[in-house]
Symmetry: C2
Subunit: 157 residues, 2 copies
């Protein structure tokens, strides 16, 4: 069993227990969604989750996916990444606020490992006098892999 597998199982169990603790019903639909969420490291959209779900429970409705995400959001078991007039993306693997970086070439969303993110909140609070609640840092650019490709095919974009 790989390390990802262990992490996946643990996240599934954490979410399962959280739902139980707060007396939400553990329906087959919800259990399937939890499993999908715990296995997807790529910040899926509701429709991505719905597509996966169709494999197992073909009668499920998209509304159920949205409703389950709403519940998990309330319980802070999934992080919602909002995009204007595109579908939201969700991260249940790491549900705590963290920054992301989006590659405009290959469209991949990756957790941004930016060491200073955690102290940003304090710095901003100090400089502005605000009581800071959320710090949303979303970066876009071209990933190293895609830079290599565009070097090999100059002028292709």
């Amino acid at each position: 069993m790989g390390k990802d597998m262990k992490q996946t199982t643990r996240r599934f169990q954490q979410m399962y227990e959280k739902l139980k603790k707060f007396h939400y019903k553990l329906t087959p639909q919800r259990i399937a969604i939890l499993k999908i969420l715990s296995e997807r490291f790529d910040h899926p959209r509701p429709e991505d989750i719905y597509d996966d779900l169709q494999q197992q429970l073909p009668t499920t409705s998209p509304a159920t996916v949205y409703k389950t995400l709403t519940v998990l959001k309330k319980l802070k078991e999934v992080l919602e990444i909002q995009y204007s007039h595109e579908s939201n993306r969700y991260d249940a693997v790491n549900p705590f606020p963290h920054p992301h970086i989006f590659c405009t070439a290959c469209q991949k969303i990756t957790d941004l490992d930016f060491s200073e993110y955690d102290i940003l909140q304090k710095k901003i609070a100090l400089q502005t006098g605000y009581h800071v609640e959320t710090v949303c840092l979303e970066v876009a650019g071209v990933c190293p892999d895609c830079q290599k490709i565009s070097e090999s095919f100059p002028g292709s974009r």
Copy 2:
């Protein structure tokens, strides 16, 4: 003439000249929208701009507001601040990318004067190897004024 007035006039002229330079027609609708945009420091939504516009040109359509904003966006004369499933907000007073802070109590959006924003891009590029194109930093919290109010009325929120 106050300082804001001078700044307002200058921004109007800058936008006006930019449109002219790129051979966009200077219609009464566009001129009115430029004036509104140059005067509003509060990051208005398209519907806010439309409401103001109704005072002067009551037959204007919301589509015209959207189309004009699209043009100004392309010319980098307005900054679009995207909100998921809420209206976008626009800043033509300072059209260059900059961070904002939103007060969750009074709903005010203010330019975040965060001195380290400009170097964020380089730091992230260095740490990740990405060619960074945009850095979106949007903070939410309670502004100093609203903190005072909630001290005077403890437990009111």
